[in-house]
């Protein structure tokens, strides 16, 4: 069987808040699959459903062929998970945290001990094995959690925002481990992130989520191909739609957000003077101009009219018909 995770029309509501709104995707064995999106897009909720911590409101989720609602124990055997918030016991040592985890997954004796030491070595924590976790730094804790989640050799490793709140060195280290796991063990990894560079750096395939929906899915190249070579952004006074129609050379021209347009071209520096000329002739006042090589951020902007960076400051859950959203958009 080639697909380890199958999600079909998953919906998850918390009272009247829709956190996940009918998403479908599959993860193939041996790939790194990333859910990319701002906070509150529904990534963690999706992961909690896959990890059997939440029941879906509707839709079906299979892990390794088992239904998460009908055979949660079978699913739990197959997955290892690193939560966004630490789930270590700070009062205990690194070794004891690993030991208890191993026991919970049916490991014992010499085998368990050897595995613990091997994994602690893998994440460079062997010398701190018998130190209490409360003396660990954030990066060390995250590494210990990664080691712990690998102890029972899961078929699917789930990492929820694996590098959130870490300094650049710790981040690079976690990235190295993830790459190594994929390269040397062919591990299937599902990770969520709101960092574009993280998704771009690590993932084979990316699903971009926003407001509980998957708005685009594919490899990094496929996603960027939506935009072509260069993207020019203009903010202007006047008729944006009308201005767009006058740019015959553009591959595509869309109005995104308020008075902001996105122009897809082959060579931005060449076309910029032309754009100014057309604006001058038509009496359109250009307030701001910029052009970028498309990254996942431009893809997100193209799809939602918002920058991924901007949306990071939004409320943690999509709130429907609430006055807060209306106030924010003013």
């Amino acid at each position: 069987m080639d697909e380890i995770v199958v999600v079909e029309n998953l919906v998850k509501k918390f009272k009247d808040v829709v956190a996940v709104d009918g998403i479908s995707f599959t993860i193939r064995r041996g790939e790194i699959f990333a859910l990319l999106g701002p906070n509150g897009a529904g990534k963690t909720t999706t992961i909690h459903v896959i990890a059997t911590l939440l029941r879906p409101t509707s839709g079906r989720v299979f892990v390794g062929g088992y239904d998460v609602t009908r055979d949660p124990d079978k699913v739990r055997e197959k997955i290892g998970i690193v939560f966004q918030d630490p789930s270590l016991d700070n009062q205990l040592t690194a070794y004891d945290n690993m030991y208890i985890h191993g026991k919970l997954y049916g490991l014992r004796g010499r085998e368990l001990h050897d595995k613990i030491m091997k994994l602690l070595e893998f994440v460079d924590l062997k010398q701190y094995a018998h130190k209490q976790v409360r003396y660990f730094s954030g990066g060390m804790r995250r590494r210990l959690e990664v080691a712990r989640s690998l102890l029972h050799e899961p078929e699917l490793l789930i990492l929820d925002e694996p590098t959130i709140g870490l300094d650049p060195q710790s981040r690079a280290k976690i990235w190295d481990y993830i790459r190594m796991l994929k390269k040397e063990h062919g591990m299937t990894i599902l990770l969520t992130t709101h960092y574009m560079d993280e998704a771009e750096e690590l993932a084979n395939r990316i699903a971009i989520m926003d407001h509980g929906k998957i708005i685009a899915m594919g490899t990094v190249e496929e996603l960027k191909a939506m935009l072509g070579k260069d993207v020019i952004y203009l903010t202007l006074e006047g008729d944006a739609m009308g201005f767009c129609s006058k740019l015959g050379f553009a591959k595509n021209c869309n109005v995104i957000g308020k008075k902001r347009i996105e122009i897809l071209v082959d060579n931005a520096p060449r076309y910029l003077p032309e754009i100014f000329n057309i604006a001058l002739m038509n009496g359109v006042e250009i307030r701001e101009v910029s052009y970028r090589r498309p990254t996942l951020n431009e893809v997100f902007l193209h799809l939602t009219g918002r920058e991924l960076r901007e949306s990071l400051e939004e409320a943690p859950l999509p709130i429907h018909r609430s006055p807060r959203r209306w106030r924010r958009s003013r």
């Binding site: 911590l53 739990r76 789930s87 009062q91 208890i100 919970l104």
Partner: protein, 291 residues
């Protein structure tokens, strides 16, 4: 099944390890009963002892005063206190009850630590494990009950220094009663804590619950002299039977209602323990991260 048993043992191990590491917790749990013992025991101990009472106060100076022998009055008083406290002095009466109370108070700490784990994430680690959740929470409750029983044992050993009326051979049997009571209340605490997300709310409910149960269990004074309504509550209070059993095996005291004896007390505690651990196991099985 094997893995479930391993999980149970893992959680017992975790609770014990945490207990050993947190010395401040051990001290605070033991200091509280010691304070009760010192202030109540020494304070009331002299009031409830015939040797310390001046018979002339009781005899007064009425016309028949000169016919009354003070030593007879003293004997009468002594007989009264013996009947009231089952043949031991008040401090022995109190410490034997306090042994049960120490484990009782400790039982609710379990619930608090479940909420703590909810907030600091360890609960999720146990929720995604493939081992049976029922066994995981049972392991936790057993681990905490072992701790509570050990804390009671410390109080009993300290009591041996204060009074010579305790029978050391009764200690192991008394600990069985204490363990069963603790497991029952730990189950209750865990089941309740799964419904709470804030420490403050839970702690308030616990305080409201523990105080009355403590006073209506016979820890401080015998239940057979209580007003009827208090007696009625004492009868349905599981702690009563633990206090009774503990006191019976430690000091041979039999102050209780007519139907109480060591066997019925044990049976009632067993039923209580089974019901509440079952409730805790079932409610933990249904837990999601939503509530």
């Amino acid at each position: 099944m094997n893995r479930d048993l391993d999980a149970l043992i893992a959680l017992v191990y975790r609770q014990l390890k945490r207990w050993i590491v947190s010395r401040s917790r051990i001290i605070s749990i033991i200091v509280q009963p010691l304070l009760w013992i010192v202030f109540l025991g020494l304070g009331f101990g002299t009031i409830f002892s015939a040797e310390n009472i001046d018979p002339s106060i009781i005899i007064g100076n009425s016309s028949i005063a000169k016919y009354i022998d003070p030593s007879v009055v003293r004997n009468m008083l002594s007989r009264y206190f013996t009947a009231t406290f089952g043949g031991v002095d008040y401090i022995t009466y109190l410490v034997t009850g306090m042994a049960a109370m120490t484990a009782f108070i400790g039982s609710f700490i379990s619930g608090i630590s479940v909420i703590w784990d909810k907030q600091f994430g360890f609960l999720k680690e146990t929720l995604v494990a493939p081992a049976s959740r029922k066994f995981i929470i049972l392991g936790r409750a057993i681990g905490d009950s072992i701790i509570n029983t050990l804390q009671s044992l410390i109080i009993i050993l300290l009591a041996l220094l204060i009074t010579d009326q305790i029978n050391p051979w009764g200690i192991p049997v008394a600990l069985v009663y204490i363990f069963m009571m603790s497991l029952g209340f730990t189950g209750l605490g865990i089941a309740m804590s799964l419904k709470f997300s804030s420490m403050e709310g839970f702690q308030m409910i616990i305080n409201l619950l523990t105080m009355p149960l403590m006073f209506m269990s016979g820890v401080f004074y015998p239940i057979n002299t209580m007003p009827e309504w208090m007696k009625a509550i004492a009868v349905i209070n599981p702690l009563t039977y633990c206090v009774y059993g503990t006191r019976y095996w430690l000091a041979g005291v039999e102050t209780g209602l007519s139907f109480m004896n060591p066997i019925t007390s044990l049976a009632i505690l067993a039923v209580f323990m089974i019901i509440f651990t079952a409730i805790a196991m079932v409610s933990f099985d249904k837990t999601t991260v939503e509530d």
